[in-house]
Symmetry: C2
Subunit: 77 residues, 2 copies
């Protein structure tokens, strides 16, 4: 079933993908670097996940950015 995803999660996922592309990491490599599963990374990038603070921080660390870079300017749901 395809569900409409909340816009902030979509925007967050696009940012993760953009930063990951910039680093040259694959989803699998980002998964290993962050301790998260590659299928979870895929879901995050597609905006299908409402990511928790702990996972935001793991992703930011693996992408070598500040968590602020991943969430700044995102609209409230």
């Amino acid at each position: 079933m395809v569900r409409l995803q909340p816009r902030p999660n979509r925007l967050f996922g696009e940012r993760v993908r953009a930063f990951r592309s910039r680093t040259g990491l694959t989803q699998e490599q980002l998964g290993r670097a962050s301790g998260l599963h590659r299928t979870y990374i895929g879901g995050v990038e597609r905006g299908e996940r409402n990511v928790s603070l702990m996972n935001i921080l793991k992703l930011a660390s693996a992408l070598r950015v500040d968590a602020a870079d991943l969430v700044t300017g995102l609209p409230a749901p």
Copy 2:
């Protein structure tokens, strides 16, 4: 049972409390403004919650700050 809470959640909770105090809102008022329950707000401020992106954005909006202000510089877990 008292459990040790992960440090990033503690730091996040301290920031929420600091911004809330600055605005002069009670936990109950912040709850109403954000659409979250006051007991949840209390748990967040005590570092007992691993807050999701959607709730981070609701809190930031109700506190009239950017979500980046709530997460910048937090250490990876």
